[in-house]
Symmetry: C2
Subunit: 305 residues, 2 copies
Amino acid sequence: MADILISEVGPRDGLQSIDRIMPTEAKKRWIAAEAAAGVREIEVGSFVPPSLLPQMADSAEIVAFACTIPGLNVVALVPNAKGAARAIEAGAHAISIPFSMSETHSLKNVRKSHAQMLEEIAVIAGLAKAARVHFAVGLSTAFGCTMEGPVEEDQVVRLAVASAEAGAQEFSLSDTTGYANPAQVKRLVRAVKAGVGAERMTTLHLHNTRGLGLANALAGLEEGITTLDASLGGLGGCPFAPGASGNIVTEDLVFMLEAMGVNTGIDLKALLDVRAIVAEALPGEPLYGFTPDAGLPLGFEGIAA
Amino acid sequence: MADILISEVGPRDGLQSIDRIMPTEAKKRWIAAEAAAGVREIEVGSFVPPSLLPQMADSAEIVAFACTIPGLNVVALVPNAKGAARAIEAGAHAISIPFSMSETHSLKNVRKSHAQMLEEIAVIAGLAKAARVHFAVGLSTAFGCTMEGPVEEDQVVRLAVASAEAGAQEFSLSDTTGYANPAQVKRLVRAVKAGVGAERMTTLHLHNTRGLGLANALAGLEEGITTLDASLGGLGGCPFAPGASGNIVTEDLVFMLEAMGVNTGIDLKALLDVRAIVAEALPGEPLYGFTPDAGLPLGFEGIAA
């Protein structure tokens, strides 16, 4: 049993940030290999119109494939109720909607005000409940916005509470813009927990834009966060937030946690081998990661030992 | 008054890792500009034989120059008593000797056993005390060694205590090889504090080899560390530890701390401008740093505000 759930978001967040389209069969190899390395949750695709994100056009097929892997929690991102219906129909175990805490960013990104987003969340919650699909809300730009600057923490809590009242079952705090710092992570996790309950405020989605990704992850762990999103090779970020880039690297995160004695359930050596699948499918695409470059310390033993 | 002392090690640790020799006048411009940005301690050179490290041949002139800057604590690295005598003669305010916790690394690096190093430390302590110069010991490879693998924590504590008994006034735990993780940082800081007293166990010298540098810095802060070494642009590392590279980046560290509300006394915008001096003096040399690449968040206000 893992102490911490690593939720791999590369096949969704990573691939939607890249212009090239990864072939469906390569996506399947990637997802299967990561699951085999011990990753227990993967955000495998998003149900956005293919005209907007052709990289995600095969998401229904990918969800169906991923659901055949024993023990894997298959998550799909949905931008709205229509996408949610498609994700549920495809068989996703869980769906997640990004809800931008900056209204400016929300209007720019999905052309919805906060009030309109809360209405959409209520509709999706109804669909998810009827289908017995888990429904999470990602509180994006929670740590600051490249358009608005700082985002009020009270506003984040208020919108999280409103989302919970609308039926959201779980929350992620998302550092979409790479503005977060460890003190802020601790404050905001505590505040949202107080608002919606600790059992619902479980997840951090962190970027490494200013190099603080793992420090922020550590801060979250210390506040009882149980799920951390990360992306193999650091692929992805947010294409709609100018200047923002870089999810935290799954390999570096797993190294940090396993070295600390925090069990991720992931075989780090096997995880490092997954990079070859992605590199082969996306030749020339940069894959990041300090631990992959430096190698494992002499005498390091993850769960593979 | 700063909450945390940032000790810039680039002019020593950074420049000795680069084959090219930075002109003396450029070193002076760098040091002066960093001090003007609010950096209150700089390790400006090392008193190693110029035949071994020609990059450091002008250290006496650099120390003398740095001592003319009001309020700057001028530190010099010394490999042995002979170097200590030269550093003291040059006017350094403080001297520091690296003491490798891995005996294999010590024998390879300075051809001295642990017992021989403790004798050297006693001699240096005598010189420093007579000259009223502050004397610190850097407990290098404290978190693991690329030759030996894991280093016993009891051994680190024992050697720190023996160094204190030999007259060392202050200690730094140094992650020479980039093996450290936050849990280990906390354990070892606590253990060495218990051995030599909290007032002597003040400093961490961290590398970012596996991307954990700032997470380790955060762990140290939480254990009451008051001084953090860092290098502008991440220059440097340890040329004697194969595969090891990369001091933590001063700019990223200052961003993290100031964003957290921890006062460094440093004007981050002015610090970012110092990079141009280094870049001009070392054309083509890579300068690292996430914050310099990404820029400061919208609405971010350091002490400059």
